[in-house]
Subunit: 360 residues, 2 copies
């Protein structure tokens, strides 16, 4: 029976590394003393197996634990549960990565559109994609729609909801989507509304979005639950999905695996993550690995668009394109909104710089 | 308009504390430069407000940030998003606690049964409740049912699924529930199956459980998504809900608030959490605060049963009752299963000790 490989980084001293690795293998599989198990199938197949332990830094150990794919089945939530459920509570362990048999990747299916699909939607060729966000929350739909129209007039590709926009009384989802879609009619820009709530509410929102002609939506999988994200992706094959990292910091999952590994495998066409040098603490190396992991050839999955964001500005466009290349979506939100009455012009300047950029 | 108060602990130096607090207030509300906002309602009501910053330790600051309840609406996912969505990605910030207006607590409703309801179900009076878990995963339904029967013969109150048991091919949910319910027929023990997957799958499982006469189920809200948990609680008022801490990433949301605050408010009747001195690193003080927060008088919410677990043994029963008092459910899984062929006797000894315990 095929096995998947979970890779953990453990902060501990050299004497306890082997024991900690073995404890994780048990915690993430049978969660009971092996001495109390007499079933031979369970002992040989279901119990997690330590495949190796090595020192990778001072008091830092990497362990590779293999788990039976039988324990996962076909559910994204159960995959996350098996990889990191209880072990997430140990604050000295990070889920660094995992390697899946191709059959596991095929069960989830990965991006249905991905980099190529998101470029085709806006006729972008090989250049980088552009994105901004309508905000602040608290504005009524008409005002948010007006901001969206000004982004569109500046020539931006995708206009997403701020992830704080949900279904609040001051801009109910249906009214917002109707207003923004109407404001963008005739423009090339694609509106990406944020889908929130329980699975029923999310379905109603996606139906309303589709009704308004929208073909791309945003979901925060760690808030919605990854199983529900998996279900929405499977049930809406024509819709592209952008993921938001909200609450993604609450469990210690290494960002390249979290965004480029898990979210991509579950069907994200584009993954928003905090860029280095912005408001969040990710290093340039972490961001490079997130982008690489989102785009690499893996188990027949389509590449997924990296979307570095979080305090980005027009001044950094050239640097970011240099760093990431053009297989990317550049997202600038507040950095454009600061232009206030000059929003369309600032957007047009951002768009011109991205479209005109040539690698040196 | 009413406001809720989010309380964060930030590791930083004294010079940057005020600035960090202000940055969190903006991140968790409008997420854009205030200079770019001209709407007076947004500036006065929607922007997060720093209500205070104080030093509580060396390079450790507590800040209280108030947020408009308008931004939350009626959705548990949006509440978590507003409290900690992006800020969870800052690894030097902990969501320590939050204070909600009574109207917010009333929207979610808290435990529908809670401590009193779970005691009544098993006729327990004021004593502590007892619980164990069927495992390991990998066993077929008949073998799991046999283990459940032996726990029941020992007189245990609640028998939960190991949280690794989902809907796997080796013990599909429906077959497992049927087998265990049949094995427990005529016994006083209540089986608590683990409900997993997307919201549709969870609904099918709850319906199957109800069909089999089951009145208590287990959900891991951080895996299922808190909005879906909220929905299941609202749609199944006769069912009691036990929460599992899988993926609780509890290092970053302070455990007393996570389990006794959020999970309880969203409707958990009982919350499983890692006990001190077991396999996880929670301190005794943390556990005391979790129990207190689960049980305290708050906004008219029913008390929720604390369920300390994770490597517990019969040897610790008296110590735990001394520490927590009897407003508790004692959960011993592997520690009983180790008795193997003497499982019923070990269970009976555990049960006798809990039933016979008198505070000194």
């Amino acid at each position: 029976m095929a096995r998947l490989l979970a890779i953990y980084h453990i902060r501990c001293d050299a004497r306890s590394a082997d024991e900690r690795a073995q404890a994780i293998a048990i915690e993430q599989s049978v969660e009971m003393p092996l001495a109390a198990i007499d079933d031979t199938h369970v002992l040989s197949e279901i119990v997690g197996r330590v495949e190796g332990v090595r020192e990778i830094g001072s008091e830092l150990f990497e362990t590779r634990v293999s788990l039976s794919v039988e324990t996962v089945g076909r559910d994204a939530g159960q995959l996350v549960n098996m990889l990191f459920g209880n072990t997430s509570i140990h604050d000295d362990v990070v889920l660094h990565d995992a390697e899946f048999p191709d059959e596991t990747a095929a069960i989830f299916g990965g991006p249905r559109h991905g980099l190529d699909g998101l470029r085709q939607r806006v006729g972008a060729g090989r250049r980088a994609l552009t994105c901004s966000a309508i905000k602040p929350q608290g504005l009524p739909p008409a005002k948010l729609a007006e901001i969206a129209r000004r982004f569109a007039d500046g020539g931006i590709d995708y206009i997403k909801d701020d992830h704080g926009l949900a279904d609040q009384s001051y801009s109910p989802f249906a009214a917002r989507v109707t207003a923004v879609a109407a404001a963008l009619r005739g423009s090339a820009a694609h509106y990406v509304p944020s889908i929130t709530g329980d699975l029923d509410a999310m379905r109603v929102q996606i139906a309303a979005a589709r009704e308004a002609g929208i073909d791309t939506v945003m979901v925060a999988p760690m808030v919605s639950g990854v199983s529900n994200f998996q279900r929405l992706v499977a049930d809406n094959p024509a819709m592209a999905f952008l993921t938001h990292p909200s609450l993604a910091g609450a469990a210690r999952i290494a960002p390249p695996f979290h965004f480029g590994g898990l979210f991509r495998m579950f069907g994200a066409d584009a993954v928003v993550f905090p860029n280095y040098g912005g408001r969040f603490g990710y290093s340039a190396e972490t961001c490079r690995l997130i982008a690489k992991r989102s785009l690499d050839q893996r188990a027949g999955l389509r590449p997924c668009v990296p979307v570095p964001a979080g305090g980005m500005s027009r001044e950094r466009v050239a640097e970011m394109l240099e760093f990431y290349s053009t297989d990317i979506m550049l997202l600038i939100g507040g950095g454009l909104l600061e232009a206030r009455e000059r929003l369309t012009a600032a957007t047009a300047a951002f768009v011109a710089e991205v479209h005109g950029w040539k690698a040196r």
